[in-house]
Symmetry: C2
Subunit: 258 residues, 2 copies
Amino acid sequence: MAVTIAVANQKGGVGKTTTTANLAVTLARHDLRVLVIDTDPQSNLTSSFGLDKAVSPSLADSLLHRDAELPRYRVQDSTDVAIDLVPGTPELAAVESELQTKLGREMRLREHVMRIDNDYDYVLVDTPPSLGVLTLNALVAAQWVIIPTEARFFSLRGLQMLTESIEEVTIVNPNLRVLGIVLNKFDRRLREEKHVAGYLQEQWEAEMFASRIPTNSKILEASSSGLSIFAPGARGRGVRRAVDAYEALAEEVLTRAA
Amino acid sequence: MAVTIAVANQKGGVGKTTTTANLAVTLARHDLRVLVIDTDPQSNLTSSFGLDKAVSPSLADSLLHRDAELPRYRVQDSTDVAIDLVPGTPELAAVESELQTKLGREMRLREHVMRIDNDYDYVLVDTPPSLGVLTLNALVAAQWVIIPTEARFFSLRGLQMLTESIEEVTIVNPNLRVLGIVLNKFDRRLREEKHVAGYLQEQWEAEMFASRIPTNSKILEASSSGLSIFAPGARGRGVRRAVDAYEALAEEVLTRAA
Ligand SMILES: Nc1ncnc2c1ncn2[C@@H]1O[C@H](COP(=O)(O)OP(=O)(O)OP(=O)(O)O)[C@@H](O)[C@H]1O
Ligand SMILES: Nc1ncnc2c1ncn2[C@@H]1O[C@H](COP(=O)(O)OP(=O)(O)OP(=O)(O)O)[C@@H](O)[C@H]1O
Ligand SMILES: [Mg+2]
Ligand SMILES: [Mg+2]
């Protein structure tokens, strides 16, 4: 049975997609079988793996029709590491309202994941920046939640709301727990960031991962050029630092989730 | 009758809230009467104006009950410029599902704004990072949309989806048009940003505002310290540059919306 992790934070732009993609590749480099699921209508995770063609049937279909298969595509990251991906599509936006009145609206993804989770060691689910039905489906399907956050004031306020929502989800998914909070885009040159990071360490000490992902232009460039930071051709100190940061995070994930 | 502008982009973290807050203060410094409305359950706009107390009745109540008043609070920005604010609250998250089956679910905010818009010259509406019912209410209530974006690949994909949604809203709000796209957090030292900025200029030339808001740590610090970049005590070259950038943007807004 796979370890299923939802990557969630309703605060926008904190690095959910980037963390999901890079953590998935890092785990796959440890020879683990990895599936990533993109529940965001914007489908940034799907495009970061270079899959841009129209997909049918799609994840939206399987959320609406219990007997539709979960569409899985093998994506060859530029590092020759194989990962399976359930692509997101714009139709997911309509699923939010279509599921509102359906029975077990937040259990739909879990049912599909349970059918296939023997094929994987890790399943990572990227979510949109909201606490709506799509994110709820990810939280109900998962055993763990990774919460990427920035060291910014607005993100702090979101953490409280998110942990309360996670608490509520334990009504239908009693196993769900926070695996950890990862500080992303951390820029220790900014006074503001050091200040908020200190506060996070104090208030959420048990949840905070020791590893922090620094702000790094190579991470930014990778998410758009399609050339992963792990690619054989990617070189330099910036790449090295980025790979090491995700490597350290993956080690902590493996230890905490074991 | 006020000019009503929705500030929207379903891509998270692009600077919707920061742009709304700073543009509102800049317009108020031009002796214009300004109202800001916070439709995001995270309520970052509300906390950036220092209003943190529980509000009742709230915006969520007025969206659900047509005869409830829109709650307006006078907030004194630290620059002594007065702005009215309709605060956001966490209950707004529940409004998304409660309104799904109600008649005229996306027209609710418009009805309230029309009752009070003679009191203002400009009404700015901040929205959550999604294209759900709350953002739809803002788009139906507005005549214009300002789209903050970053010069990042993931943001580009969102622009297409957003402009298609805006096009659809013209079924119920024929006047709605894009006032402009503003490049925010622009860092011209990054190759990636220069590259995407060039693409934006080519593909969306007519919509792009000439003014760009640079990435600036003073803008970041202001949104959390509660000390505005416009405050008498805020000094230095970074502050000057930030204030000038919003000043230039406000000029373009005034020209285009006239
Ligand atoms: N450590 C990092 N260093 C530099 N840039 C980063 C880092 N992590 C993410 N980014 C960039 O920050 C932006 C936001 O990241 P991303 O899109 O992954 O966030 P998100 O939380 O998934 O956003 P959304 O809320 O829209 O889903 C992207 O342009 C991404 O490339
Ligand atoms: N020009 C800028 N320079 C530096 N930091 C900025 C700038 N504009 C916004 N920020 C910072 O970037 C982060 C994201 O901005 P903001 O919260 O306004 O975006 P948003 O689009 O409203 O996010 P959400 O999608 O969660 O509503 C905040 O920490 C903010 O302080
Ligand atoms: Mg994302
Ligand atoms: Mg915001």
